[in-house]
Structures are given as structure tokens and as C-alpha cells.
């Protein structure tokens, strides 16, 4: 099939959660609601997988809203990277719905937990699939409005305190994004990614465009919780209900990373020196910050929230190196990071439920949850980047790319990456010793965990294991994606067609007599 026949496909992963979310606003009985949510999440997954299949040959799918062509109308675009991110988000979405379904929460469900989750999915999918900078802002807002509601849904004291910080931080970042959109339009006269790429390439290295790029970098750094702007994350995510927290942790920071990749490879690739230096520096600090934070914490999901920050640091590092190998490693690590975070949060949910405490200090749980211990071990190895996990493959490729690039800053960042991995390993061992290892004391009760919740953790870990087994195809896919990102001309032609864009002259106003 030609890309024109599949023009409907980039919209399907966005419209499905939006429609299902609207249906979920009706007060169905719980089984109906859960069934609808599961079917909706699986349908979204199906469409995302279809996107990956359709773009695997290098096609760029473009679906326009209202039939207005790019660059005048808003288009949804799917290339390899966008389709891949959409698939990862859809997988995390299915896992989140699974956990929410297995863990009844009458109060939050009465206030539309499922519907808000689906609006969040729609916003996330739209951020990945949009082909327009302003629409990216809109997608961020759809995603954030749903996430604000989810962050404070239930109104516990902790949620309100942490949610406030989250909302303020994100509002400031969104305001800056709108301002930057305006600046971009003022400088380049368009907001369509492909058209922006074309125009900024025509302009060549230009300080104003670089300044706009750096502003965008700051916005997306705040969204993806890079070092100085990520202070809100470790407090916010543990305050959320487990299923929601798992999706937030796995996907929301990656939206910022995706935007960084999109903007600095496809769009503003002409003057990479300054953004790359910034990303390398920020990445190097962020991964150490995350690793030290993980060591310092004693609560399940706080530890894992810091590992999320650390993984964002690795991704920024990979992006900042700026070579094709590094981009390939980053794309592979992106997949590892999303799935392992989803798995870790699912494991944390089971562990918290089984021990009845958010702390990891209950010892000897391996006797009661042997399979969970095995799952945790695999995920811990993946986070720390030790063989035989998929995390090792991706981190090895990252470090190799950093060494090959060889600038002093890259070498410092490589050193910090290795150090951060070591510290993360220590943090994970701390969890292992504190929770699974040792002798269980009788004074700590062990609670029964619903099978649905446990199976979600097992399934997520199976996906992580799958990454390990299929590391070869994963790197192959990442290689193809990086190749596509290296040549933005393909994306530009896919969206705008082969002919040059002709802006029609403004209609002449007849002179008043």
C-alpha cells in the first residue's frame, strides 16, 4: 500500500484513546468500564503496531486534519521514530490499564480515573505523532491537563503538595513553549516540522535560530526532568496511585526526550554545536544526580523515580554526543528505559502491597515472592546496565559512541555514565538486600496481592527479557531509525512532497473608492 492509502493510520492511535476516554465518562458498572478500557488500550496498541509495520520500510505517513495539506494545515506524521515511540507508549498504556483494572480504587474511579488515563494516552500519542510545533504544544497541554487531574485525583495531602509543584513547573515550561513557538514563527515563518527543517537549512547557521533551538531545549529539558529542572519528579511520581505512576514514569519524561530528538535531528540540525554541548553537560550531571538520589532513598517508588531521572540523563548524553552511532544507541536505550521503568513500577506496586509499606526495609521477602525477586533482579541488572540484560547492550553502545567521539566533554560524560551505572547498581543491591534478602521477621505481616497486579509485573518483566533476547533486531531497528533521522530530507519530502512549497500571495484588497 502507498503512504497515501494509509493516511488515516497516524490518526488512529490518537483518536482511539480519545473516543474511548469519552465513552468512559459515562457511569458504567465497573466490569463494563474495565472491559472497555482494556479493549481500548489493546486497540490503541494494535494501531501503534500497525504504524510500526507501515513505517518499517522507511515510509513517512502523513494524515492531515480537515484535508488541509502541510505546511498550511495541521498534519500528523509518522516516521520510524514516531511510530516506535507510539508503540512504546501504547504498551505502557496497556500495562497501566491492566494494573488499574486489577487494583480497584472506587473513589478515584468514581471521579473518572479511567477516562483521564485515556485522555492522557491521547495527549501522549498526539505528542509523538504530530508534525507541527504548535500542535506539539497543544498535545503537551492535552497530556498535561489530564496528568494534572490524575496527579491530584484522590486529594491526599501528599498528592496536593507534590501536584502543586508539578503543575507550576509544567505551566511555566508550557508558557515558555508558546513564547518559543511565536519566536520560531517570527523567525522562520512556519511551524510545520518539515517546513521548519527546510527553511532553517536554507538559512544555514544562524544565531537567532540557534537561540530558538536553545529555548526549545530548555522547555523540553523541563518536561523530561533534566538536572536543574527535574526537582519536581521524585516527589510527584511516588505520590500517585501505582498504575498511574507507572505510566507517568515510563512515558511522560520520554515525551520530552522525543521532542528533543525530533527538534535537534529533523528540524534544527544545521548548527549542532551549542545544543549538543548543553545536552552532554546536562546529561552527565543528570545521570549522576539520579544515581545518587536513588542511593539516598528508602522508599520503593522514590528510588525508581530517581532511576527515571538517571535514564533521562543517559538519553540526553546519547543525544549530545551527536554521532550516528550515539543516536542509534539512544533510540535503543529509549525502548529499554521505557519498558524497564514500567516493569520496575509494576514490581514496586506488588512489593508495596505485599509488605504493606512503602519502605524497602522489610527483609526476607524472597521466601514469599520468589518470582517477583527474579523479575526484580533482571530489571535491576537492566537499569545498572550489566550483562546479560538489554540495558547492557544499549549502555555499551552509548559508552562506545561517547569514546569514539572523543571530545573532552564526551569523555567526562562517559566517565560519569560509568560511575552512575555503578552507583545505580549499588542502589539496586540496596533494594535487594533490604527487601528480598535476609531473614523475614515475624512481626512484619505479608499480605496477599491480587493475581492481576502480580501478572502485570511479570508481563512487564517478560517484555524487558524480550528486549534482552531480541537485542539484535532492536539495534537493527534503532540503526534504521538513526539513519532516517540523519537525513531529514526524507522526512521533509515525505511531508511536503517533492515540489517546493509555494506560498500563495495574499489576496489583494480592492481599494476603497
Amino acid at each position: 500500500m502507498t503512504p497515501a492509502d494509509l493516511a488515516w493510520l497516524p490518526l488512529a492511535p490518537i483518536l482511539t484513546p480519545l473516543g474511548v476516554g469519552l465513552l468512559l465518562l459515562v457511569r458504567w458498572r465497573r466490569p463494563v468500564q474495565v472491559g472497555l478500557a482494556l479493549v481500548g488500550a489493546l486497540a490503541g496498541l494494535l494501531f501503534a503496531a500497525g504504524l510500526v509495520a507501515a513505517t518499517s520500510g522507511g515510509a513517512v505517513l502523513v494524515g492531515s486534519l480537515g484535508g488541509w495539506p502541510a505546511p498550511f494545515g495541521i498534519v500528523m506524521t509518522a516516521d520510524r521514530l514516531a511510530a516506535w515511540m507510539s508503540l512504546l507508549a501504547a504498551v505502557s498504556g496497556v500495562l497501566a490499564v491492566w494494573q488499574a483494572a486489577a487494583d480497584p480504587d472506587p473513589v478515584r474511579e468514581k471521579h473518572h480515573l479511567f477516562a483521564l488515563l485515556f485522555f492522557l494516552f491521547a495527549g501522549v500519542q498526539m505528542s509523538f505523532l504530530t508534525g507541527d510545533l504548535f500542535n506539539l504544544f497543544v498535545a503537551f497541554e492535552v497530556m498535561l491537563v489530564a496528568s494534572y487531574a490524575l496527579a491530584v485525583l484522590g486529594s491526599t495531602r501528599e498528592q496536593l503538595r507534590e501536584g502543586f509543584r508539578y503543575i507550576v513547573m509544567n505551566l511555566v515550561a508550557s508558557a515558555l513553549l508558546v513564547v518559543t513557538c511565536g519566536l520560531t514563527y517570527g523567525v522562520l515563518g512556519t511551524l510545520n516540522f518539515a517546513h521548519l527543517a527546510q527553511r532553517s537549512a536554507e538559512l544555514g547557521p544562524n544565531t537567532t535560530v540557534t537561540a530558538v533551538g536553545v529555548l526549545l531545549l530548555i522547555v523540553f529539558a523541563a518536561k523530561s526532568a533534566l538536572f536543574p529542572l527535574g526537582f519536581w519528579l521524585p516527589g510527584t511520581y511516588p505520590a500517585l496511585p501505582p498504575a498511574v505512576g507507572a505510566f507517568f514514569a515510563a512515558v511522560l519524561t520520554k515525551v520530552g526526550i522525543y521532542a528533543l530528538i525530533r527538534v535537534f535531528t529533523t528540524v534544527f540540525g544545521q548548527d549542532p554545536a551549542l545544543p549538543n554541548t548543553l545536552l552532554l553537560g546536562l546529561g552527565a550531571v543528570t545521570m549522576l544526580f539520579g544515581a545518587f538520589g536513588a542511593v539516598s532513598q528508602r522508599e520503593w517508588r522514590r528510588i525508581f523515580s530517581f532511576t527515571v531521572i538517571s535514564s533521562v540523563g543517559y538519553l540526553a548524553f546519547g543525544l549530545g554526543i551527536g554521532t550516528p552511532e550515539a543516536l542509534r544507541a539512544s533510540v535503543a536505550y529509549l525502548a529499554v528505559s521505557v519498558l524497564v521503568t514500567a516493569a520496575l513500577f509494576a514490581i514496586a506496586a506488588v512489593a508495596e502491597r505485599a509488605s504493606g509499606s512503602r519502605l524497602v526495609t522489610v527483609r526476607g521477602m524472597i521466601d514469599f515472592l520468589p518470582l517477583l525477586a527474579a523479575c526484580f533482579l533482571l530489571c535491576a541488572l537492566t537499569v545498572a546496565g550489566l550483562p546479560p540484560s538489554g540495558g547492557f547492550v544499549a549502555k555499551y553502545a552509548l559508552v562506545q559512541a561517547g569514546l569514539a567521539q572523543g571530545s573532552p566533554l564526551a569523555l567526562v560524560a562517559v566517565f560519569s555514565a560509568l560511575l552512575a551505572s555503578l552507583i545505580l547498581l549499588y542502589a539496586m543491591l540496596g533494594v535487594w538486600r533490604g527487601f528480598f534478602w535476609g531473614k523475614h521477621l515475624v512481626m512484619f505481616p505479608v499480605y496477599q496481592v491480587p493475581f492481576g497486579l502480580r501478572s502485570a509485573a511479570y508481563a512487564a518483566t517478560a517484555l524487558v527479557a524480550g528486549l534482552t533476547l531480541f537485542a539484535g533486531p532492536l539495534l537493527g531497528w534503532a540503526e534504521a531509525t538513526a539513519g532516517e533521522l540523519r537525513e531529514p530530507g526524507r522526512y521533509v519530502r515525505g511531508v511536503l512532497g517533492d515540489d517546493p512549497v509555494v506560498i500563495p500571495p495574499p489576496p489583494t484588497v480592492p481599494e476603497e473608492p
Binding site: A7, W8, L11, L15, L18, G19, L22, L25, G63, S64, L65, G66, G67
Partner: protein
């Protein structure tokens, strides 16, 4: 200290607004209410290809309703404005979805011309339905916010005031 009054939805006997007894405001607001509402419907009607549209019409309608609320102390809308939000969203979404399911681009608008004896030739467009959805959504959302703000009684204390 006294308990703060329980917040209401604006339908059942709320605390009277400070200006609600004002005779001048009452008599002018009746005319202004009708005019503003009429103008907002005009904006909604022409919005799909002239300045106007569901968003701005919704805001104007909300202004008219807030004015009514200030002047008379009760809402002219007989239902909870929150309920308008999902219906508006659903209407807009469904309008966009119909062409998508028929194999056209999402949100593609159909249009045509009909001639009636009264109006002469005029253009209809399905985008009007989309605008109507936006209108309902904006009225619902802005009224919800405005009513929530008008119902904060000045003597109400919050945590940390003591």
C-alpha cells in the same frame, strides 16, 4: 469560629451576590443579557468562515450568564454547567469522526448551499456542528470556573489562616 458555608452548584439558594439587590443593574442587565446572548449566537452562526466561532461565542455566552448571576443571584442555566463539557467534547469529536470513518480526513467539513424564501441563498457546513460542540464545552468550562470563584464567601477560612 463559624463553619464555612458549603459550596453549592449555583442552583439551590446560594448566598446572595453583593450587587444582586441593585435596581439599576437589574433593569439594565435584562436588556444587556439578551443583546450579548444574541450577539454570541451570531458569532457562532457565522464562525466557520468569518471572524467568530464556537470559542468566542461560548465566552460571550458565559459572560452573559455571569452577568445574570451577579444581577439576580441565581444562575439562568437550569443545569450544572459541568455537564455541558463532556457533551460538547463528544459532539465535536463525533463531527470530526464521521468523515474519518467514511474514509475522508479527520475533521473534514462538508458544505453546500440552500436557498430558502426567507434567507435567500446561504451556505451550510458541518463545521457548524463542531463549533456547537466547542461552544457547549467553553460555556460549561468557563461557567464552572466562574461559579466556583463567585461562591467563595469572603468570611470563609482555609487551612493555615488560623
Amino acid at each position: 469560629m463559624t463553619r464555612p458555608p458549603t459550596p453549592s452548584t449555583g442552583r439551590e439558594a446560594p448566598a446572595p451576590a453583593p450587587l444582586s439587590g441593585d435596581p439599576i443593574l437589574r433593569s439594565t442587565s435584562r436588556a444587556v443579557f439578551a443583546l450579548v446572548l444574541l450577539f454570541s449566537f451570531l458569532l457562532l452562526w457565522r464562525g466557520h468562515n468569518a471572524p467568530g466561532g464556537g470559542f468566542i461565542a461560548g465566552l460571550m455566552t458565559a459572560c452573559a450568564l455571569v452577568l445574570h448571576r451577579i444581577a439576580y443571584g441565581f444562575s439562568a442555566l437550569r443545569l450544572d454547567p459541568v455537564r455541558l463539557i463532556p457533551w460538547g467534547l463528544a459532539l465535536s469529536f463525533a463531527t470530526g469522526l464521521v468523515p474519518y470513518l467514511l474514509g475522508k480526513p479527520f475533521l473534514k467539513s462538508d458544505y453546500g448551499y440552500i436557498t430558502t424564501a426567507v434567507t435567500g441563498e446561504f451556505e451550510w457546513a458541518t463545521a457548524l456542528l463542531f463549533d456547537l460542540g466547542v461552544f457547549l464545552l467553553v460555556v460549561g468550562a468557563s461557567l464552572t470556573i466562574a461559579y466556583a470563584l463567585t461562591e467563595v464567601a469572603p468570611q470563609e477560612t482555609v487551612e493555615g489562616d488560623e
